[in-house]
Amino acid sequence: MNQTGQTNITRRMRLFLTVSAILVVVFAIRLIDFQIVRAEAISEYSYENRAVTRTIPAIRGDILDANGEVLATSVYRYDINAAPSMVKPVSRVVDGVEQVISVEAVAADLARILQEDIAVLLPKLTGTSNYVNLKKRVDADTHRSIEELEIPWIFSDAHQNRLYPNGAVAGNLIGFVDTDGLALAGLERQFNACLAGVDGQERFERGVDGIRIPSSAVVTQEVAHGRDVVLTIDASLQYHAQQTLASEVERLDADWATAVVIEVKTGRIVLAAEAPSVDPNDPGKSAPEERGARVFQYAYEPGSTMKTLTAATAIETGFATMATGVVAPDQMPLFDRTIKDFSPHETWNLTLAGVLTKSSNVGIIKIAENIPASTRFDFMQRFGFGKPTEVGFEGETGGLLSDYNNWDGVTNFTTTFGQGLSVSAVQMASVYQTLANGGVRVNPVLVAGCADDAGAMTSVPKTTSTQVVSAQTAQDVMLMLEKVVEDGAIGQATAVPGYRSAGKTGTAEIQEGAGYGDYFATSFFGMAPVDNPQYAMGVMIYKPKQVHTNSMAAAASYQKILSQVLLTNRVAPSTTVSPEIATEW
């Protein structure tokens, strides 16, 4: 090789090395730029392209009865949608042969499964839109049937939905939620903080094929599922009571009816039923006034069931005993009014027990006339009147109990037999619970607490016991009320064979305008068994058009519900007999 050739090679080599060096420097600069200077931004940009953020929806908690039976739960429902712009015939392999199914045939399948009219559904599938809803909130079974059709232009969106497997059983207590899951009424709303959880969030990376990259998920916010609300209600008894009341409302042509049963020793409400009742699965079918819980939210003048409280006050304060006698004509003048007994009768010589058995308005006024109004007012308050019970049900009424200083002359006396004040059914049942529990009032409880997955309870209501009257007074009143069941025609209709039970009738007039209307709120409140009180209960039938003049209307329901409560809870029949108590002198 000559000198010139050698020089050319050396030059080329230098040129190559120089170019290479420049390229290396350029790449090095770019490398430093990518890897160091803009490393974080590029990495973030890349991650954003791969990463997907997903909300982990919190599952709303269940509402359970005292035995764990599910009254409300969360399930998934699906909106079935289509993309009309993508609609075309569908290829399917049938018996190994590929077939093309026309859009019309596919639409017919969809219409059959969705139970929609093909004439309505088919036009929805035409057009250039990417979205049209075919049906909202179909159940999982229907959704699966749609899925099996394998239609590439059909899509679905899952939504949490509330399901009430027992329908209207305790529906008036449970309340309901709207289609977006917003609690609208009842315990669903009142205990929303317990039931509703907190949605979580996670981020994960996805490959170009859309498949999730393993181990890439990062939970940015832990999901906290809702907890369960546990009631004191027994769903089976609640159902039985609602069924009984519904039957009686129909038979008596009444507006509505309620029943409440309280466990004497614990204050737990075993049932709080009413008819008509609302089915939370479809609350729109019920009239607005039927969607609440009248046991807690409706106050009425109690009528003669109030005489029990007056009798307890009289005995406790020493103004009367069971044997205290009064002369009770069928009416008496009182200021500008005439107070009458329920029906005309000859003058009776009644003991306090007789006053209760005969339910004499005149008699109870004479028993209570010497008790100071302030004392009677005080006892009414101690029995829980004038304020909502400790249940604290949303919209719960405390009734109307005006200060005794505001009572006029007539009201001073009519309050002894249940006029001039109003109470809710649960307030009145609480009076009978108190007397059945040796004079100790235990606050009524409807919700046992809020339970987490492990069963640990929070929000457990405090139980307070208050001695309202002495045990002896309570026993005396209960024994007198037993005579109502034994001797009274209506009382006898409430008796459960084999059990000693006690109670009091109530036929309350209903205010209409300035006076009272033609129909009554008839009720019966009591306790059983007298020799070992377990349950206090009450039934109220509102405006029965048949059997509307006395509380016989409530007796049949009371007897049926009490029987079922005793039977279900295996309460042993009585083994003692009631003592003799004089009702006349």
């Binding site: 982990i56 929806p57 599952i59 739960t73 998934y76 699906y78 909106d79 949608n81 993309a83 990417n130 979205y131 159940d139 999982a140 959704h143 699966r144 899925e147 059909i154 899509f155 679905s156 969106d157 899952a158 399901l163 009430y164 497997p165 027992n166 329908g167 209207a168 059983v169 498949i211 999730r212 393993p214 599922h225 769903a235 159902y239 039985h240 609602q242 069924q243 009984t244 519904a246 039957s247 129909e250 008819a275 009742s277 089915d279 699965n281 479809d282 079918k285 459960v496 064979p497 084999g498 049926k560 029987s563 079922q564 005793l566 039977l567 295996r570 309460v571 042993a572 029949p573 083994t575």
Partner: protein
Amino acid sequence: MKSLRKSRLSAPVVMILVTGFVAVSLLHLLLTILTSQSVYELSDLKREKRELDTTSQILSEEVSSLASNQNLLNTASRLGMVANTNPVFLRLTDQSVLGQPLPAPIASAQSTNLVANSAMIIESTQINQVTVPASTTEPVAIPTTVSTSLIPASPTR
């Protein structure tokens, strides 16, 4: 001579490096294939789980509905059962009968359910499904998850 010895010495090193590189590459390839397979298997399993969750939900709803008080009353009435509202007990200690035994009155039969339940179904839609033998293992609590469908979510709103 010295450079020849040097090149002889470096040959095994080169071989080891090349072999190592090939081995690592093959191992990497193998792991990549396995991981890819696992990803798709995991995806299939998740899909299967969603299917089973859906089946579980369908069956749970049916069981709840069939066990509802309304359904029990309807079924009992169809079978001609009448409730006796008169409780009677036999005390074993002295063999005494507590309560007054009375026959159930026909009038007590409330054959028609009066408590609404729009979620109630009359019979299972799963009766033709293959019966799965009961598990011999203890049931474990399965955390509820969102059961998104196999049908893709709607592309637009």
